[in-house]
Symmetry: none
Subunit: 233 residues, 2 copies
């Protein structure tokens, strides 16, 4: 990581703000914050942030308005909106420029961190982060070169294996079904009656490589009846 990724949190509630800040700083981000709408807009427009976390309900100016203005200036600026449960649908519907993601309060912090990572990854700012996938303390995968390490064991991967890992990471907040993997990684049309074990086999191969104990997966877990899920640290 060459430079720290910079986040702006625009949130008036002290408790949420500091809670988020702590966690995100802990995850290695460079975090600033703003406590009300105008200050948030000001910072968002003047500073250069890789991602902005925007509460919807703010004193001075609401989050939608801010999002709008930010987008008016820079349509590629990544923004995640934090919406309160029960937000009026009309407000949502009236919104003219979309954020990159939405997280409904109350959210779990772990959940939010995953979303932040996913948005950054999608927006390419984390492009070089994408190239390296870390699991726990000692597993590392270099996705470009299809190589990796587990402790001091050298690993090599195939393209499919790496693609699977990347897709699973992009969706590490939920289990991904075999069908979805076939569709998104293999490019198969989703067909309810195809029957193949290919995905399972690839999972097994990956486990043999990245798991300390393949019989007791720590990272590549199966959610029975739903698919597989990659547990990022």
């Amino acid at each position: 990581m060459q430079r720290k990724i910079r986040l702006l949190i625009v949130e008036d509630e002290e408790a949420i703000r500091t809670g988020l800040m702590d966690v995100l700083v802990y995850h290695g981000y460079d975090v600033e914050f703003a406590a009300d709408g105008p200050e948030g807009l000001d910072k968002a427009l003047s500073g250069r942030f890789d991602l902005i976390l925007l509460d919807v309900m703010l004193p001075g100016m609401d989050g939608f308005e801010i999002c709008n203005r930010i987008r008016a200036q820079d349509r590629d600026q990544p923004v995640i909106m934090l919406t309160a449960k029960g937000t009026d649908e009309d407000i949502i519907q009236g919104l003219s420029l979309g954020a990159d993601d939405y997280v409904a309060k109350p959210f779990s912090v772990a959940q939010l961190v995953l979303r932040v990572q996913a948005v950054l990854r999608r927006s390419r700012i984390g492009a070089e982060l994408d190239a390296t996938l870390r699991l726990g303390e000692d597993v590392e995968v270099d996705c470009r070169n299809l190589q990796g390490q587990r402790g001091d064991v050298a690993l090599s991967f195939t393209r499919r294996e790496v693609e699977m890992l990347q897709y699973l990471r992009l969706n590490s907040d939920r289990p991904v079904s075999r069908d979805e993997l076939l569709a998104k990684v293999w490019g198969y049309a989703r067909n309810l009656d195809i029957e193949t074990r290919t995905v399972d086999i690839h999972i097994a191969k990956l486990r043999r490589k990245i798991e300390p104990d393949p019989a007791q997966p720590r990272y590549l877990v199966t959610v029975r009846g739903a698919g597989y899920r990659l547990l990022a640290e």
Copy 2:
């Protein structure tokens, strides 16, 4: 951007179709199309789209019919209906068949894009809220990951269990009969003379997990002679 949002346009008029496609592709969506009813239904059912734009007047099969069938398979599939006829009747029929929104032709493209964004946003936020089910102070169920907590006890659920909980929550204003559960959760045809205790067993399993005292249910109560009812917060 790795995960583009996928739209399906079902529209027979060449001019409208390509016009829409251009604009939506410009807005960053991954767009496919179908030119008639059967093809549209086929793609809608086989591929996985985040949103389907459905013309009402189509050769082969009308849009309402298609919408109906789509919903029969996936009740959460977002659909926007497009129609030339601006009568209230069409709107009502479209919405009652489960379309998420309705746009009358001729529409401005900007208008349509806004609707598309709004529907996507709603379905996403909706999914987000749906994914977590809270009961009282200390019970929480993560429906996507089939996991939960009761106080500091970790819980794990099966697909069926979670589906039952979700259906009961959706109807938490009344008791739901066993037959209805069998029909809606299991997909059995409603048959008054089948005799099975499956529902009861699943209820018992759920109680063992989510109830502090399974013998004295607080959340998953039985309404004798009527079925079960979930008491949400």
